[in-house]
Amino acid sequence: MTAFVSLENVSHAYAGAEGAPAVEGLTLDVAEGEFAAVVGPSGCGKSTLMKLATGLQFPFKGTVTVAGERVSKPVKIAGMAFQAPTLLPWRTTLDNLLLPLEIVEPYRREMRRRKPEFAERANNLLGSVGLRDQGGKFPWELSGGMQQRASLCRALIHEPKLLMLDEPFGALDAFTREELWCVIRDLHASRKITVILVTHDLREAVFLADRIFVMSARPGRVIAERRIELPRPRDLEVTFTTPFQDIVHELRAHIVKARQ
């Protein structure tokens, strides 16, 4: 199994940050098409991991490799979504989705010529997350959950090979969150995309991921790795079964230890 995303003995500190580096000796591999989740206590450098893997930051020690290439500039094959939907309020939802295409080559060059085709693609993507015919609305006319779906679509519009999710459901209510778990699950299943999900929510991680990495408190590194063998496709019901609960408990014990 070759790694699609690989961090090898990576250390990183932010300029101007006093004290401990954000991550130290971090090693982690994610295979192509795999769904990886990263959990850990607050401030364990999960967001730093996101930035390292997408080429927004570069480590002072160790190497980051994505798709067989050492990361030395922003990784354009990645899409990102965060806790805040960060949609642009002056653009309609559809135009928000088209934003990445206005930036990434080769779409950027072809934007004018192929715009109807791109809009069609965006509409289909919206349809796949249950937002069909909502493209003409402005983001502030959508509910929080709908905005987050649109944000996911924006992360996927340029058909990235890698999807990075930084607590994308943190600000949503429990029901909407579970709904979106299923959206992500289906997107992952249908697109064979590699996903790295950073989250606080252990149930979320266990439900979605093939493999979970537990990170220590700052400076962050991986202290445990857990493969989730629950059969796919997983139904929400699985979250109430004993094997599921056992895994959650086991992970929780790791985090409790990491917090001390």
Partner: protein
């Protein structure tokens, strides 16, 4: 039904308040027998307005022209400087104290220097209007750019967006409400600037007209000049407010200020 009545009241209320203020003023002046050379009543001011309509109209026009040219310069220069300052942290850090220092200087103190350079009249008035009104535009534009959500910046950077891309797609559009909001402040300040300069160093404009009226002890005319300025100020402010609403509809969706 009550809805429309309440709306009507809100529509009429600025007029009611203005008329109320004028009536109160008139009543106070009459009741306490205040001498008209001290505080003329609105009726006398209106009379002066009619009597001196020619000079008031001519000078109002000159003041308006002066103000608008100064304001136009301020918009152009303020927008440019705001973009530059918002573009780079180093430039921001370097220029910020300079701008604060400059803004702290009372602009009236600059008029003698401007007169020294350009002579009295039109040019120093335009420049004073410009100097006094560009600062809020710069600050607002720079603030709009400086407060781009870091997550959004990350999303775009990860796609390989250049700084110019981020500026064009995100920075400038999201700065527009700040920019148009600052225009309302700037146009009002521009009037202050041109009138100051006109009263100190010009032979034209409302500022000069008021100075001359004062020298001749025509107190109602002084007040008529003030009213002319107030009317110009309100009209320009309203224009800027309409422009702001038009250009940045997406930013005005809150019902907060409408209730």
């Amino acid at each position: 039904m009550t809805m429309t009545r309440a709306n009507l009241l809100i529509k009429a209320s600025p007029w009611l308040f203005t008329i109320g203020l004028l009536l109160f003023w008139e009543a106070v002046v009459r009741a306490f027998n205040i001498p008209t050379f001290f505080l003329p009543p609105p009726s006398l001011i209106a009379q002066a307005f009619v009597e001196f309509w020619g000079p008031i109209a001519r000078n109002s026009w000159i003041t308006l022209e002066t103000t608008l040219i100064g304001f136009g310069l301020a918009v152009g220069f303020g927008l440019l400087l705001g973009l530059v300052v918002g573009w780079s942290r180093a430039i921001y850090a370097g220029l910020y104290p300079l701008m604060i220092g400059f803004n702290a200087i009372p602009k009236v103190a600059l008029v003698p220097i401007l007169v020294l350079w350009f002579g009295i009249g039109f040019v120093p008035a335009v420049l004073t209007a410009f100097l006094i009104s560009f600062f809020p535009i710069v600050v607002n534009v720079a603030t709009g750019l400086a407060t781009i959500e870091p997550e959004l910046e990350d999303v775009l950077k990860a796609l390989g967006a250049s700084k110019l891309d981020i500026m064009r797609k995100v920075g400038i559009p999201r700065t527009l409400p700040y920019f148009f909001g600052s225009l309302k402040v700037a146009i009002t300040l521009a009037f202050v600037g041109s009138v100051i300069s006109e009263s100190v160093a010009s032979n034209y404009g409302i500022g000069n007209l008021m100075l001359q009226a004062q020298a001749q002890f025509q107190v109602p005319l002084i007040f008529a000049g003030l009213v002319a300025l107030a009317v110009e100020g309100i009209v320009m402010y309203a224009l800027m407010a309409v422009l702001e609403k038009r250009m940045t509809r997406w930013a005005q969706r809150s019902g907060f200020s409408q209730t």
